[in-house]
């Protein structure tokens, strides 16, 4: 087991180097002088230019420059935003909880609907319900979520006036950030109205971001269940006279969940991709919208640092999923 953990953890080193290389070259590939790129469009005086050149080490060979960059990154120094002059890491950590809150709600939504739908579809194979679930999940899988968001706004906010169009919470409320998760912070500060406002603001973004994972989870659960239901031990359980519910809930589901857990882990990357689009549509103040805004403001330090941080987050989540998978399934940790 230790050996498995060690090899798996050591595998992230090349990935980490790769991500830092990508972020490192990002600034240097933008046409023009990197100092001017970093300093913004207003331009800087030659003396300051020279000073920055030295500071960032642009007068050194490229490998040394990368070394300087890497050591800065490892010390948590990702540069400052050109617009706000705030350290990139601070901005990221103040916005990240919003993204996490949305992503967690989305994956919960996907699980609560996707798992039962997949299980029932498998039990009632070839029924109308099964075909319906498969059809809907194929549509969900093919969904341009940026359009889906607009359509839901059109339906729920414009036609029925049920949900707010954008933001995380009504402007009436100011909630002192404690955990950064509004659902928890509002309750901690005993603001029930604010809590409901936060819930209302979460509904549409959650559905939009959860759609693709929902489709994938439903499909995967169905096929994993079908495979398991055909196994000998299920026939044995039936022969023993166990109830249908017991067979499905205890014998089949437990084994069917292993591939499903992996798929959920793989959806984390998809979630962050979706978060960029979802946050843009709903003006959700998370890291996705922050990155897109950075592109249009030509705020390259934010783009560089933000992409690096998101890459590291996804890499770490993948690592955790792999380790958890190795814990659940001994066959994985003993191969190779």
């Amino acid at each position: 087991m230790l050996r498995f953990i060690f090899t798996r953890v050591s595998l992230i080193i090349p990935t980490f180097i790769g991500i830092t290389l990508l972020a490192f070259f990002l600034i240097r590939l933008v046409p023009g002088d990197p100092i001017e790129t970093l300093a913004g469009e207003r331009g800087i005086d030659p003396a300051r230019h020279e000073q920055l050149r030295k500071e960032y080490g642009f007068d050194q060979p490229i490998l040394v420059q990368y070394g300087i960059y890497l050591s800065r990154v490892l010390q948590g120094d990702l540069g400052k935003s050109m617009i706000t002059q705030e350290p990139v890491l601070n901005e990221f950590s103040s916005l990240f909880p919003a993204t996490i809150e949305l992503a967690l709600c989305a994956i919960l939504f996907a699980l609560i609907i996707g798992l039962p739908a997949g299980i029932i579809a498998a039990i009632r194979r070839n029924s109308i319900f099964d075909h319906g679930v498969m059809g809907v999940s194929l549509a969900g899988y093919s969904m341009p979520i940026f359009w889906w968001g607009l359509i839901l706004i059109l339906l729920f906010s414009v036609q029925f006036d049920l949900t707010p169009v954008s933001g995380r919470i009504d402007v009436l409320y100011y909630i002192e950030p404690i955990t950064g998760f509004l659902l928890i912070d509002t309750l901690l500060s005993d603001e029930v109205d604010a809590f409901w406002s936060a819930v209302q603001h979460l509904i549409l973004p959650t559905i939009v971001l959860g759609t693709v994972p929902l489709a994938v989870i439903a499909r995967m659960t169905r096929s994993a269940m079908l495979e398991v239901l055909g196994e000998d031990y299920i026939r044995t359980a039936k022969a023993k006279g166990l109830s249908r519910f017991r067979i499905v809930a205890l014998h089949a589901l437990r084994n069917a969940l292993i591939p499903v857990v992996t798929v959920i882990g793989l959806q984390i990357g998809v979630l962050f991709t979706g978060a960029i689009l979802t946050e843009t549509i709903f003006s959700w103040p998370g890291v996705g919208k922050w990155l897109i805004d950075a592109i249009f403001r030509r705020d390259y330090p934010v783009l560089q640092g933000g992409a690096l941080l998101l890459g590291v987050v996804v890499m770490s989540v993948n690592l955790l999923v792999d380790l958890a998978y190795g814990l659940i399934n001994p066959r994985i940790r003993h191969t190779r």
């Binding site: 090349p14 093919s142 059109l154 592109i295 992409a307 890459g311």
Partner: protein, 303 residues
């Protein structure tokens, strides 16, 4: 129930020669209604794209502010000459969708072609030479796979500058690892087989082995992935267009059309509904086709 049914099986006696592979493939493929539906939609989209100048009722870029934001013909105020209504500057939405089909197909095909050619070569090289070359290529692909696909595409476009060409390059790079992995895995299974050994013994060089012997035998998974890849490419390019990083206005690319129309969502439902529907239907069709191809080509599922 008597003699007549007794004679019937005689017709079904297996013929001496097995059916042509294409015929066999069609047998499996056509049994899958979803896949056939997908194929029909794709053929329709291709026809629309090819015949765009003939069937589009208006010039897709012709603006006319006098008729701005006209609703579709079945709503009050709509007219049959602009069947799906007009956009905020009075362009015909149907005509723009029709020309947009050209762009979306072009994006899908160009991106996947680029990706599949480079990916196959890299995969073949990794599978044939193994060792350091393989480790280098595969680790690189793992890194690309680790990053969320759209994030990587966004970063690439942010560096290269927004535009359709750069967006296509970015998406091609993002979907590259799938082809490299598939090609390498197929090569590794194939090279242990006798026919490769036979070819090697009879003096075939590595290049010949790679492209003439092994490649034709690992096309099936690549074809399936190509169909699924086209749907990803169309979807991602549209997402980039929507974010303002892909095709630039006034291009009638579907994602860009959505971005243009976004602020009018509260006033005119038709300007956002139809472009997205076009994306959804096209992507769905390629996914259906991909699933059908996989079922028909995957020997494990046969019989």
């Amino acid at each position: 129930m008597t003699t007549e049914t007794m004679e019937a099986p005689a017709v079904a006696v297996p013929t001496a020669t097995p059916p042509h592979p294409l015929r066999e493939f069609w047998g499996y493929f056509s049994a899958n209604h979803g896949a056939v539906a997908g194929l029909v939609i794709i053929v329709a989209v291709v026809l629309v794209a090819l015949l765009a100048p003939v069937i589009a009722p208006h010039d897709p870029n012709l603006t006319n502010t006098a008729i701005a934001l006209q609703p579709p013909f079945w709503q009050a105020g709509g007219s049959i000459s602009y069947p799906l209504g007009t956009d905020p500057i009075g362009r015909d939405i149907l005509s723009r969708l029709i020309y947009g089909a050209q762009l979306s197909l072009l994006i899908g095909i160009a991106v996947v072609t680029l990706s599949i050619v480079i990916g196959t070569v890299l995969g073949l090289v990794a599978g044939f030479f193994r060792g350091l070359t393989e480790i280098f290529i595969m680790r690189l692909m793992d890194i690309v796979l680790t990053l969320p696909s759209l994030l990587l595409a966004i970063v690439i476009v942010a560096v290269l500058g927004p535009g359709l060409m750069n967006a296509m390059l970015a998406v091609a790079l993002v979907i590259l690892p799938h082809y490299v992995r598939l090609a390498r895995a197929a090569v590794i299974t194939e090279t242990s087989k006798d026919y490769v050994m036979a070819a090697r013994v009879s003096g075939a060089g590595t290049t010949r082995l790679m492209f003439k012997e092994v490649l034709p035998n690992c096309t099936a998974p690549l074809i399936v992935q190509a169909s699924l890849g086209i749907s990803t490419a169309i979807l991602d390019a549209a997402a980039l267009g929507f974010l303002g990083l892909g095709a630039q206005p006034p291009s009638p690319e579907w994602g860009t059309m959505l971005a243009d129309a976004r602020e009018f969502v509260l006033r005119a439902w038709w300007v956002v509904t139809f472009p997205g529907l076009a994306i959804l239907v096209t992507v769905l069709a390629f996914n259906l086709l991909g699933d059908g191809l996989r079922d028909a080509l995957d020997p494990k599922l046969k019989r």
